[in-house]
């Protein structure tokens, strides 16, 4: 059957404002939104800007908004009628491609690497398995930026609040039983306390990282040690 998709387009070097463009395609059950974008690129308009690499939820490059929801294009089933936009709260480079670097520039100050005082006494070293369970979950984040797109606090306070993705990445080290850095202080300085625990980030998380829970766990943990 015939499918109709509206795409919000914007080339910052040419357009004054974003605009909607409508495309028609052959809709078949089971096809993904990425299939629709590929179809348009291959057959109708090869200037359409969108990004993807792995095609199956590993790379996190194809985050977009479909009918208002932040999703991965490769994981989202297409519908005969859809509206597609770029993720929110981030600068658009072209059409559906957002500026990842703008956000990534803030990550170095989170010291996203293992910091320890002493070396392991034996190798492989003994690991506290309770903490390891949280470390595993935090490690699942594929940095697709969907959580940033829905976070109301990041939207309002991008300079004071690092955003759910940054906190999820930080929690990997926070829960690393070997890490000695005072990450509680670091998180305070990065605005963790401003999180209102609305849970929207976890609702859109496709990699089962559950940032809201990680944030809550870190907050609880910090309360206990203070």
């Amino acid at each position: 059957m015939e499918g109709i998709v509206k795409i919000l387009r914007f080339n910052p070097l040419v357009d004054r404002l974003p605009y909607q463009q409508q495309f028609e395609y052959e809709y078949n059950e089971g096809m993904t939104v990425l299939d629709v974008l590929n179809y348009i690129y291959e057959n109708i308009d090869s200037t359409l800007g969108y990004s993807y690499s792995c095609r199956n939820g590993h790379c996190g490059l194809c985050g977009i908004i479909v009918d208002g929801d932040s999703v991965l294009a490769c994981k989202k089933a297409a519908k005969p009628e859809m509206m597609i936009e770029p993720l929110r709260n981030l600068r658009v480079i072209k059409d559906l491609i957002i500026d990842r670097e703008e956000y990534e520039r803030r990550l170095p100050q989170l010291r996203l690497f293992l910091e320890r005082q002493s070396e392991a006494v034996m190798e492989p070293e003994k690991i506290d398995m309770q903490k390891f369970e949280k470390f595993i979950v935090a490690s699942r984040c594929i940095e697709c930026f969907c959580c940033l797109s829905v976070c109301p606090v990041y939207k309002n306070s991008p300079h004071l609040f690092a955003g759910p993705m940054a906190y999820a990445l930080e929690s990997r080290h926070f829960f690393d039983p070997r890490d000695d850095l005072n990450r509680a202080l670091l998180l305070k300085s990065e605005g963790l306390e401003l999180c209102t625990e609305c849970g929207l980030c976890s609702e859109v998380c496709m990699s089962k990282t559950d940032p809201a829970k990680l944030i809550r766990n870190m907050k609880d943990f910090i309360k206990k040690i203070l």
Partner: protein
């Protein structure tokens, strides 16, 4: 134009390139990494669900040994491996697993948290492979990237390297194009490591990411390096056929499924009565295609995978990621069959290198899947991640040591002219076909004629069509310099054709069936004639094939192996 200067330049930001960069930073040299896409977002490593083959006294299974790992790998490779490389991998991979943990990784442990859990894979005698969930590769990449950020190694992302520059037989640098702005980039570097991975994207069905178009093979080839064993392409039997964006993605595990043809026959009974679906990957792949050829295939050109016999909840529990994908596709795996066909998974062939992972050009190294030799004619599962660590570390060290000994290295900025001309040429074509359509043609030809089954006739046909395709003009839709993805696709499509020709010509020369290479017109293995490797080189734009006997220094084939 932008000009960069470094001592060691790594091309490719997957596991092998990152590991090479990490190792090189230990030797007081400047290290930089350039990647066609975003690091941690492209390449095959981040998709690797498997484990890292590594036998060590501290965690090995009783009875296992490094010697046995070497033997398994060489038998798996059908004796075409570079046995020195295999030995170096088995020896070094365990200490590098530990080194990853020092950098920040944690691999799966027992309840006490003091011993690794180990996985086994096809062809391995014992469980010997540490892992993390079903995303070991992702964990490796994340860990090394964090350490490289700490060490302030620059990542030049979204830049495709177009050409290597030499002075006599020494490497001196490379030119590249920025994908977002089409700006020419000039890289001065005393050593260069090519770590650009495989090239699954030259086949219609593949589980590789779209960026894997074989650029590194062609860079090396055009600089004068030989590619070895290019006829060996590994197929995994179960890839999705639908929807298009999932085509070729890993669709299920052989352990949990039964395969049926369109007549409802469990056809593996004919091909391997004992092991059925658990036969070797290459046999199952051939059986599926045989069924399709003989008219018992499904509408989409594959066979049916049946998961319905498993008890309720089993599929979801054992393969949660796949289950989610089935549901997304609108298929209930507990009730319906799924159409599948073999898919391209890995390239055993690649750059010809020595035991320092150095090519025939001084200062030019390879790392990871882009190198040939380690896996011979077929790769064992879990050996890819081990190869990433070992080849990365060794090439990184040697590239750094080479750079230390070179005093000055400056390039003439006029080197950028060639790439400027290339861009003007691509942007000015008035009549021609879209780059994506050329790519699709390459994929189709490779799939139809250079797939699981090959014959002299099919290969000659492929070569003829590839040569015709080469002459067709490629036209991009827009001449904009900003975010013009088609320009890069035009360059990629040319690389794909060159690489395809190397594969076809090597396959034409190997008139036997061995490991991943199957010639229907020569279905037997021939140890008298073909215990040798084929090398592709480029002379005046033409691919030339030469061969050399395998050095069987450690392990010599026993006759009984060939009678299975």
């Amino acid at each position: 134009m932008k000009r960069y200067n470094t001592d060691v330049l790594i091309i490719g930001g997957g596991g092998a390139g990152l590991m090479a960069a990490y190792e090189a930073t230990k030797y007081n040299v400047k290290v930089a990494l350039v990647n066609k896409g975003k690091v941690q977002k492209t390449g095959a490593t981040i998709m690797a669900p498997g484990a890292i083959a590594a036998v060590d006294d501290r965690w090995k299974t009783a009875g296992d040994s490094k010697e046995l790992h070497i033997k398994d790998t060489i038998i798996g490779g059908s004796y075409l491996n570079d046995q020195n490389m295999v030995e170096i991998m088995a020896k070094n991979s365990p200490s590098l697993v530990i080194e990853l943990e020092r950098m920040g990784a944690i691999f799966q442990r027992n309840k006490n948290g003091d011993k690794y859990m180990l996985r086994i894979g096809g062809g391995h005698t014992y469980p010997r492979c540490p892992y993390l969930e079903d995303r070991t590769g992702r964990e490796m990449v994340r860990t090394i990237v964090s350490e490289l950020k700490k060490r302030n190694v620059p990542f030049y992302e979204n830049i495709m390297i177009i050409r290597l520059i030499k002075n006599n037989e020494n490497i001196t640098g490379a030119t590249g194009i920025n994908l977002n702005t089409l700006e020419i980039c000039l890289f001065e570097s005393k050593s260069i490591i090519i770590a650009t991975g495989g090239a699954g994207s030259i086949y219609q069905n593949t589980d590789n990411s779209v960026d894997l178009t074989g650029d590194g093979y062609v860079l090396a080839l055009e600089a004068g390096v030989a590619l070895r064993d290019m006829e060996f392409v590994q197929f995994y039997p179960i890839g999705f056929l639908y929807p298009p964006s999932l085509k070729g993605m890993l669709g299920g595990l052989l352990y949990y499924c039964r395969l049926y043809n369109s007549k409802g026959e469990r056809f593996m009974e004919k091909y391997d009565k004992e092991r059925l679906e658990l036969s070797t990957r290459d046999r199952v792949s051939r059986a599926i295609i045989q069924e399709v050829i003989e008219g018992r295939g499904t509408p989409l050109g594959g066979v049916y995978m049946d998961l319905t016999f498993n008890e309720p909840g089993f599929v979801k529990k054992m393969t949660p990621g796949l289950y989610e994908t089935y549901i997304n596709m609108g298929i209930n795996p507990e009730k319906e069959f799924i159409e599948i066909a073999p898919t391209v998974h890995f390239f055993m062939g690649g750059l010809s290198i020595n035991s320092k992972w150095e090519t025939s050009i001084k200062g030019l190294y390879g790392a990871g899947e882009t190198c040939g030799g380690m896996h011979g004619g077929n790769r064992l599962s879990q050996n890819a991640l081990a190869e990433i660590l070992v080849s990365g570390a060794i090439s990184g060290r040697n590239a750094a040591l080479n750079a230390i000994n070179i005093k000055d290295n400056y390039l003439d900025p006029n080197e950028a002219h060639k790439e400027e001309e290339l861009l003007i040429k691509i942007l000015s074509v008035k009549v021609g076909r879209k780059p994506i359509h050329i790519k699709k043609e390459v994929k189709r030809i490779m799939w139809d004629y250079v797939g699981v089954f090959r014959t002299g006739k099919s290969l000659s046909k492929a070569l003829k069509e590839m040569r015709l395709l080469e002459t067709i003009s490629v036209k991009v839709s827009s001449n904009s310099m900003y975010m013009n993805k088609e320009v890069i696709e035009a360059i990629e499509s040319r690389n794909m054709i060159i690489l395809a020709k190397c594969i076809i010509l090597s396959a034409l020369n190997r008139k036997e069936s061995r490991a991943a290479h199957y010639r229907s017109d020569y279905p037997e293995i021939d140890n008298i004639k073909y215990l040798r490797n084929f090398y592709s080189t480029m002379k005046e734009g033409e691919i030339i094939i030469q061969d050399k006997k395998v050095d069987l220094k450690k392990l010599i084939p026993e006759v009984k192996i060939w009678k299975e």
